[in-house]
Amino acid sequence: MLETTLSAAAAGSTTAWDALVERYSGLVWSVARAHRLSHADAADVVQTTWLRLVENLDRIRDPDKVGAWLATTARRECLRAIRLKARQELTGDIDLFEEPVADPIDEPILIEERDGLLWRAFRTLGDRCQELLRLLAAPTEPSYEEISAALDMPIGAIGPTRGRCLEQLRVRLAGMGAV
């Protein structure tokens, strides 16, 4: 099914392309947000990733792995975006009033108390845990292969790390008084 979608997109079908974008936007967006990019930078990374797929539609050797290909590409573009930003800061070539990169989610959205607690507990986790859980929570439920590509993490490490991170999250939640 993916093979035909990909080859149809390569052959010129915008419908097939739209289907690919619909299917994988959640994954690519989550990769960018897992790397703690701001809204605007994440949007840029997602768009660069799609442009790269457009360039390479004829060259994807294994259509079943288009998700992993997108995840790898998005990770590379995240690193590029982070380095570009750091460079601009080094050279002083950055608007001081630009939105901060650090906090990707606007807390006011989290109306319910349980949400707020869960979010704050999540934010106390180590970077690696936040990245992994953020991706595992992507709406399209990425495969371990895609997550491995997105985080450059061995597939065999994902399950155990997931367990350890969720355990930590539960301990932090309990520490904050959540039941």
């Binding site: 442009l51 460079r87 929570a137």
Partner: protein, 154 residues
């Protein structure tokens, strides 16, 4: 600790993030529109190296502020550029190989042409243009197929 509890917590987190940080519609729409950039009339010069993300060779000190060196490569053409930022403008110093006089154009992803020039006989060129988030280069030579580079975030 049971797998069941972990799965419940994972679902809570998925639900939270799904509500708090959905993929913006505009991002999906832009992704669909990216298909308009499909190029079938030119060869692709892939992004082979970018000094700000590639590991430096051993012994070379990685400098955060040195010039950014980028290499694109197609089957028949290599494009090396040095990217410099000058106030609110970008300056590209480049060279194509094999050398020769060709037209080099900077395209922006909103469809605009930011700058265009002709390389000298040694294949060297210089381009200046206002800030753009993402560019690609197009190389047109009289007796060869056109080449477009992969997109380069600046």
């Amino acid at each position: 600790m049971t797998n069941h509890e972990n799965d419940d917590l994972m679902r809570d987190l998925q639900d939270l993030l799904g509500r708090a940080d959905p993929v913006p519609d505009a991002v999906v729409e832009a992704g669909k529109a990216a298909y308009g950039w499909r190029t079938i009339d030119a060869d692709l010069a892939e992004l082979l190296a970018d000094s700000i993300v590639d590991k430096q060779p051993a012994g070379v000190r990685s400098s955060g502020t040195g010039p950014r060196i980028v290499t694109f490569e197609s089957e028949g053409l290599t494009i090396d550029i040095e990217v410099r930022k000058e106030r609110r403008a970008h300056r590209l110093l480049g060279q194509i190989d094999p050398p020769g006089s060709v037209t080099v154009t900077v395209e922006l992803d909103d469809g605009a042409v930011a700058a265009t020039t002709t390389s000298d006989e040694l294949g060297r060129f210089e381009l200046r243009f206002d800030e753009g988030a993402r560019i690609r280069l197009r190389v047109d030579a009289p007796a060869a197929a056109s080449v477009v580079s992969a997109w380069l975030p600046l």
